[in-house]
């Protein structure tokens, strides 16, 4: 991946001036960290839509990927101090095709209300991906034009990729072997 932390740094500097004083780097008011040479922005669900809009104006004009993650039972996650860990995360991978750089947005969503504003008004291509995240994790996208199941059958109960959704098993029937 050819992330270019230098160009992101410039933006961080320009955004930093009216920000509260702590040692967390910020981009449009949200904490930025660099993981494995990849730029990651952590945000909450209230700021999420505005952040995607601002990043879109910065050039991150393609939403390449959007998926949910369930962190139930995972205590190894490292987050910036300003971010409160929640059970679900919405992960959006953005691409800037002009400058050939990537950026990832991670949104914390609570177990009680895993709802967030849709970004299909900014990135129409996120439509199918949001429907998939809804199927798999039960994340709800407010204002989505077509919030119907996409991969699962219409009458499916539950959200399979949640960690507390048990895998169905069919017991294996062994036949008795004659002569033993």
């Amino acid at each position: 991946m050819t992330e270019s932390p230098a160009s992101v740094d410039e933006e961080i500097e320009s955004a930093e001036q009216d920000m509260p004083e702590d040692d967390v780097e910020r981009l449009h008011g949200s904490a930025v960290v660099v993981n494995n040479n990849q730029t990651v922005v952590h945000t909450g669900k209230a700021e999420y839509h505005d952040l995607i809009q601002s990043l879109n104006d910065d050039g991150y004009g393609v939403c390449v990927d959007l998926c949910g993650v369930d962190y139930l039972g995972n205590d190894t996650r490292s987050l910036p101090v300003t971010v409160t860990a929640e059970r679900f995360e919405l992960v959006v991978n953005l691409l800037d095709v002009q400058a050939s750089r990537r950026l990832r947005v991670r949104v914390q969503l609570s177990e009680a209300a895993p709802m967030v504003a849709t970004i299909t008004d900014i990135h129409p291509g996120a439509e199918a991906m949001e429907r998939e995240a809804n199927d798999m994790f039960g994340l709800e996208f407010e204002g989505h034009p077509d919030p119907t199941p996409i991969l699962l059958p219409d009458d499916w109960q539950g959200h399979p990729l949640r960690k507390d959704y048990s895998m169905g098993r069919i017991p294996v029937q062994f036949k008795a072997v004659d002569g033993r």
């Binding site: 991946m1 993981n35 393609v62 990927d65 993650v69 962190y71 095709v97 991969l151 699962l152 895998m167």
Partner: protein, 403 residues
């Protein structure tokens, strides 16, 4: 709705309204598997359409959470069954990024060689099915024949024609077999002539052109907004190719051109794939010359198994072997997104590790899944007969769409 209501509604229908809604698929020979498209028609014109997917959903992302990192490629390779090596590659790159291990040069070049051959076989499959969909039935036989040449080489190297499980975290499963250069050269020798024949059969034919030119047009802005990548984006004239824009493996050391179209129509998408076979052949030729000697997988005994002969003489080798194949190796906690340019576009893998031997979450960003969203847009206002041409030109692989 009660019966009375239904009757009332039926009575207000405009008798001159000839719109109707039909389903195409999921069992239709030209929908490339189990794709259903619901279309609203006015006579022969398609007004609105909606791809209905999920018929092949098998929960592979859930399965991945129950497999070790070494077993992972056996799972992901079944997603895009026409280009299985690319999914293995993006998964392996993600695991290696979290492990922070160095790849030997030979492993990198073997991966590149195999992936480019796979791109050729995948595009040949496209030419076969695209030809068949549009009535050039002979093309189906020719495309399949050429693809078989490549698959025969894959069988020799990996043991299987498809679903190879060849590219694994830490390198590749085995070194290239003796005499592989001749096999690759044979493929490179027969293919150019056959591609010329395809040009004669299809590219220059007035019937072919009339069937494809100006059909299913999409612009650069629309493609980018929809997240479409690969030949669909390049057909609009936008030269975006991850091999060039964000080089991975050793693509910055080989010489190749990005093929772009002009009009963003079905013909451009066909021509791009045909010519990308030629570009892939150029890369394969350079791989033949430049491939270095050395180990074909990382010499890290915590990640790759020891050579079979070492197990008989070394206790540590036996322990490493046993640990890798029972418990699996542990990957440091973290998350990473890697992307490669598959024949269909950006193929990404988002991997979250909790420090154990199995992923916490493994998500594949499937190009076909995203590209399929452009379908209603391309078909809008076109003829029903052209719908087939447009679906075919997206080249969706349903195993990857539904996962």
């Amino acid at each position: 709705m009660s019966e009375a209501e239904a009757e009332e509604r039926a009575s207000v229908v405009d008798p001159d309204d000839e719109r109707m809604i039909i389903n195409m698929g999921p069992q239709h020979p030209s929908t490339h598997g189990v794709l259903r498209v619901t279309m609203e028609l006015q006579g022969e014109t398609v007004l609105r359409s909606k791809p209905v997917i999920g018929y092949l959903h098998t929960g592979m992302e859930k399965t991945a959470e129950d497999l070790t990192y070494l077993q992972g490629p056996t799972n992901v390779t079944r997603m895009d069954y026409a280009a299985p090596l690319f999914t293995e590659l993006t998964f392996s790159l993600a695991v290696e990024a979290l492990l922070e291990i160095e790849m030997p040069d030979r492993a990198t070049w073997i991966r590149m060689l195999m992936c480019e051959l796979n791109r050729m076989s995948s595009h040949l499959l496209f030419l076969a099915t695209n030809g068949m969909d549009l009535g050039a039935v002979g093309m189906m036989i020719y495309g399949w024949r050429e693809r078989e040449e490549v698959l025969r080489f894959f069988e020799k190297v990996t043991g299987l024609r498809m679903n190879h499980n060849y590219i694994r975290p830490g390198g590749v499963a085995a070194d290239l077999p003796d005499g592989w250069q001749e096999d690759v050269q044979n493929i490179l020798k027969v293919l150019p002539e056959r591609l010329e024949q395809f040009d004669v059969l299809m590219t220059g034919q007035p019937i072919w052109r009339e069937r494809t030119q100006g059909i299913g047009v999409i612009t650069t802005e629309e493609a980018l907004a929809m997240g479409a990548t690969g030949p669909i984006l390049r057909s609009t004239g936008y030269a975006w190719d991850l091999r060039r824009a964000m080089p991975y493996l050793a693509y910055d050391q080989v010489d190749f051109d990005i093929v772009v179209g002009t009009y963003g129509d079905t013909f451009d998408r066909y021509a791009i794939r045909l010519n990308e076979i030629r570009e892939s052949m150029r890369i394969v030729e350079q791989c033949l010359e430049l491939i270095p000697d050395g180990p074909y997988r990382a010499e890290d005994r915590k990640v790759t198994p020891p050579p079979r002969a070492r197990i008989d003489e070394s206790m540590e080798a036996l322990i490493h072997h046993f640990k890798i194949f029972t418990e699996g190796f542990k990957v440091p906690p973290g998350e990473v997104y890697t992307a490669v340019e598959s024949p269909r576009g950006e193929l990404g893998c988002y991997l979250v590790s909790d420090g154990g031997p199995k992923p916490q979450r493994m998500h594949i960003r499937a190009p076909s899944f995203v590209n399929l969203q452009t379908l209603p847009h391309m078909m809008h206002g076109g003829l029903l007969a052209d719908a087939i041409a447009v679906i075919s030109s997206i080249d969706p692989i349903m195993g990857e769409v539904d996962r």
